[in-house]
Subunit: 205 residues, 2 copies
DNA sequence: GGTGCCGCATGACATCTGTCATGCGGCACC
DNA sequence: GGTGCCGCATGACAGATGTCATGCGGCACC
């Protein structure tokens, strides 16, 4: 911890938000944003190039999600602290982030002061998680969908027909229908559109 | 323009982003964020209470959209300059924002420097619009959907069945099908899910 | 005061979607 | 080396969805 400054990498795709967050952290005396990236697949290289203490990762990014980036960092650079930041407080996101090795999980709805606070806390070895979200994640239970069901549902999300899904996934049309049918039942909804909707809401997609 | 400081109202629902943007603007010598709100339906009251020069409005907010808020402000407080800010660079959004009386339209993808710049420019009487977006809005043409088609499509967006839509909108099931059918044709897609998707993308919903 | 568009409706039809029963090979677990 | 789950498939069926032709009343525009 040379000079006492906490060195942070900031990953967020929207320039204006990213630079605004950097400005916010820049107001803190003990925090320094030393690198910024706009894509998930640029995080690892930037982290290696900059000798940082904490990585701040938005989930929704092109190239790779912040959760995927967190998993990479956790594997390649253990010791580095990981803060995952997201617009959507979906229980499934929290769960995935934790499994990827995140030390903190913040939603953008939270007061800005929590950001710097979380950075300091994870560096002190603490974990930072919104209690409400943690409860929801535990109560909501694990993702009930199998890999294939998730895969098919994700592919169906844009309104593709069964025939298109079958071609894209190299499955028969009947099989596609079966997967969607079981997904619909597991999610207790009445058609694929609702299934996509609720799976998204829970962070299961 | 007492004291030479530009007084800004900031409306954005995500606290962290809102406060980060405030920090960003706070770095400018000639700009001062004098009020912040998190809901679209609180914008007008805040604007009246604070004697501001520029209102910075996010589109996606609870209560009322930034575009609706812009329309209110334009009507009630003409003279006030309006900057609309959004995550999504949808041509329809730009069009609606301009019709609502906005002086500037910015996407959050743009460099942070453009924000302060836009604030200064609108105050100088200029209009600020991303040229790429402007072209897309003109090329994309106007919304081809009728009011009813839009209404039905919006209601169908969450996966409701025809029967539910008919009940909710006080229409017969056949009529619902007709509206969706014409909307599907106008949008050149093959089912309601795709229709919802592309209408959203263009900002026509 | 026609002409034409819009909102609303009906009925018929083809297609798509969701469900269910059933089957088979592979693989893991006891 | 059974038993059972998973991935994949088929076929049949009911119900939902999308299309089309057609009709009627209201209203705006020339």
């Amino acid at each position: 911890m040379s000079g006492g400054m906490i060195k942070v990498l900031l990953a967020e795709d929207q320039s204006m938000v990213r630079e605004a967050l950097a400005a916010l952290l820049g107001l803190e005396d003990d925090i320094e944003v030393v690198a910024q990236v706009a894509r998930g697949d640029e995080v690892l290289a930037a982290a290696r190039a900059h000798d940082i203490d904490v990585a701040l990762l938005d989930i929704e990014m092109p190239g790779a999600t912040g959760i995927e980036a967190a998993a990479q960092l956790h594997k390649e650079l253990p010791g580095l602290k990981l803060v995952v930041l997201t617009t959507f407080g979906r229980p499934g996101y929290l769960r995935s982030a934790m499994e990827a090795g995140a030390d903190a999980f913040l939603v953008k709805d939270a007061p800005a002061a929590q950001l710097a606070e979380a950075v300091r806390k994870v560096l002190a070895g603490e974990r930072v998680i919104d209690p409400t979200l943690a409860a929801a994640a535990l109560a909501g239970g694990a993702n009930p969908l199998t890999d294939r069901e998730r895969e098919v549902l994700r592919a169906a999300a844009d309104g593709s027909t069964n025939a298109e899904l079958a071609a894209a996934l190299h499955l028969s049309q009947g099989t596609v229908r079966n997967y969607l049918s079981t997904a619909i039942q597991k999610l207790a909804v009445r058609n694929r559109a609702e299934a996509v909707r609720t799976a998204r809401e829970k962070g299961w997609l």
